[in-house]
Amino acid sequence: MTVRALVIDDSRAMRRIVTGILGDLGYETRQAGHGQEALDVLHEGWAPDLCTIDWNMPVMDGLQFVHAVRANPDWRTVSLVMVTSESEHGQIVRALAAGAHEYVIKPFTADALRDKLALLGLLPEEVAL
């Protein structure tokens, strides 16, 4: 079973890094440079199991994207994980209240991201079971 992830970050470098980690874990991935581009991917019909979302991005930021996804019942099964350098407690609470499932603070290691996905039962090997 293919498990899909959409990596949303305005930094190409960070998209490459996160995509690499998720690819190694067995995800099929796509990338978006900001929230609106990510919404366009979802509207296309490419349905991810997971979105990793940066907070500070041009055009549409990560929090706006979370609100937009949660406002659409068609996307209610998508797991949303913030991956961001915004590490103030208030920001974390806002993201989780808006509907994000997990929060990974940059800088992070591949193991830290893997552990968060394991908590959500989202590792491809687990989903396949």
Binding site: D10, S11, R12, A13, M14, R16, I17, T19, G20, N56, M57, P58, T84, S85, E86, S87, E88, G90, I105, K106, P107, F108, T109
Partner: protein, 174 residues
């Protein structure tokens, strides 16, 4: 990017933001930078705290922080160092030929991660701007700057957490 221009209310002179040196020390800035290096650049990458002049062709990446404290976090290094950093950061995902855009992006992301973690230890709530990259970083308050000088793989690199210069402080939106 959060701009400091606009038509909203401005700070009065009496509303000056606190001095950065009362909010964060160089040891904390160094620790934040080291954590970013270990996680993003590589587990074995060491930053040696030694001051050395940055080359004349230096490139900077910075993020602005607006809130109870106003200023910017600026990362500066030579262009060759910036290229090497980009390769290290991207690792096996690095393209064969690095474009300037790749280097700007990688240096900007490092500044973003360091800046975000600096912001977390400052009084909030604050807004973190999008990273910018160039040869001329925003001016800082020289006497109110927390500066860390390190060597990475023998090349100099500086991280400055600098307050907005006093003469520009009344331009900062509330």
């Amino acid at each position: 990017m959060t701009h400091v221009t606009g038509t909203g209310p401005r700070r009065r002179a009496s509303d000056r933001s606190p001095s950065i040196t009362t909010l964060i020390d160089t040891a904390t800035v160094q620790e934040i930078t080291e954590q970013a290096w270990l996680a993003l650049v590589g587990e074995d990458e060491v930053l040696v705290p030694l001051p050395a002049p940055v080359p004349a062709d230096a490139l900077s990446a910075w993020v602005e922080i607006l809130g109870p404290w106003n200023g910017s976090v600026v990362l500066t290094c030579g262009r060759d160092t910036a290229h090497e950093l980009t390769r290290a950061l991207l690792g096996e995902h690095a393209p064969e030929v690095l474009e300037d855009e790749d280097v700007d992006d990688a240096l900007g992301e490092l500044a973003n991660v360091v800046g975000g973690n600096v912001k977390a230890v400052l009084p909030g709530p604050s807004v973190l701007g999008l990273p910018e990259v160039g040869v001329t970083p925003p001016p800082g308050h020289e006497a109110d700057t927390c500066r860390v000088d390190v060597l990475w793989r023998g090349s100099p690199l500086t991280v400055r957490v600098q307050s907005v210069p006093a003469e520009r402080e009344n331009e900062v939106p509330l």
